[in-house]
């Protein structure tokens, strides 16, 4: 949590949109009104509005004002959050079960695409990692089978109870803030684990979301793979055509 002015204003406005105080389709107060209300400069207001715009919460219309567009939630969404963090914002009961916890070697270069990520210790590009496999349940139904490869060189420790704790929170507390990720979504054939845990038929398709998660200093901290039942998969995002 930052205490920047524009971020505080951003959160206040985002909250007022989420709770309907600023209703969808209506205009926000003008930048000059907001400037007076928050007693800041116009540039500070504009930074807050830009952040809302980039997330698709408002649309700025030249000469008119800022229209409230609405809000989009989902379990699998463009936000860079861990399951534990998303679960905290859901009403439904959620559960994580540890199903794997091994020391392995991985080659991050082979994580995207359809190659094998786990390699021999002496393979070129091999890095030591801890593999944590967790089955995620919402409303007591399995929704995803997650495997995180935590790079030991960057993240030397792990939470005491990996099933209960947010990996992201642990990394940010013990190493450095998580900053960004490259994400890949593909489809593949269900394997035995998918069949066992996600209760999908062998050989049918499952959705695979892979992420390379980086710290603020661009160091790669972990690889994560999430396998989902295609019947439950729905991914929503907001995309813009232009910078401005």
């Amino acid at each position: 949590m930052n205490d920047n002015k524009y971020e505080l204003i951003y959160r206040d406005l985002a909250n007022k949109i989420a709770t309907g105080i600023f209703a969808v389709g209506n205009y926000l107060p003008s930048e000059n009104d907001l400037r007076r209300q928050y007693a800041v400069s116009r540039e500070t207001i504009r930074k807050a509005l830009l952040a809302l715009r980039n997330e698709g919460k408002i649309q700025k219309i030249h000469g008119k004002g800022s229209v409230v567009l609405g809000t989009r939630p989902a379990l699998t969404s463009p936000e860079l959050k861990g399951f534990t963090e998303i679960a905290a914002s859901l009403d439904d009961p959620t559960n994580s079960r540890l199903v794997q916890n091994d020391s392995v070697y991985v080659d991050p270069e082979r994580f995207f695409g359809r190659e094998e990520t786990i390699v021999r210790a002496n393979a070129p590009g091999a890095q030591p990692a801890v593999l944590i496999g967790r089955l995620r349940e919402v409303r007591h139904q399995p929704v995803s089978l997650d495997r995180d490869y935590v790079l030991t060189d960057i993240v030397p420790t792990l939470p005491d109870d990996p099933a209960e704790t947010s990996l992201y929170a642990h990394v940010e507390e013990t190493v450095a803030p998580i900053s960004y990720a490259e994400r890949e979504i593909t489809m593949t054939q269900a394997d035995w684990d998918d069949h066992q845990f996600l209760e999908v038929q062998l050989g049918t398709s499952v959705v695979v979301i892979r992420q390379k998660v980086y710290l603020t200093d661009t160091r790669l901290a972990l690889l994560s793979e999430s396998r989902l039942d295609p019947r439950q998969f729905h991914y929503r995002e907001f995309v813009r055509r232009h910078l401005t």
Copy 2:
């Protein structure tokens, strides 16, 4: 194309990153150097860098500089572009075949999720639209079956040859700039058309990307559905954890 200073600088820097003049892993010149090189104020430079950062092309590190991260291309990517526009940037030969061209009524409220989009003319929420179905081929292989529902009330005319022309370009020339879209990715069972055109087996899974495409004034201009062979589907995007 805008002729704003910061956008020109953005494009110049993006181009130098794409062509390797600024190599991955290296630092860009400092904001002060860039300010001198382009003979603009520091804020203008910072706007250009912010745009690069938001697209995952650079990472700004406080007190150090801006590291070049790299570039990510793909046929199905987070950019809001039509197939014709993406095809223009590919080396491979591409082709579009018109397979459908009908007048229908749609209910945009029913476009996301798993409901029927095409409704009766007198249904509540029904809007007139032209359905344009096109089979897209790359390297003479079918890659996607696209259906665009162009809302007649907003876009009254259509290009003369819908198979060859970019719908997006036509909308922007005759109506208003396209600004943003809500996108949904799901999976469903292949139907007869998928089997015929995409050459996938009946009943196996296909990827469905649906988009609601809006103009700068927030009017909904068209609905588009893209159905893809899951074996060829790979979607890559860049996501950030924080605003700053």
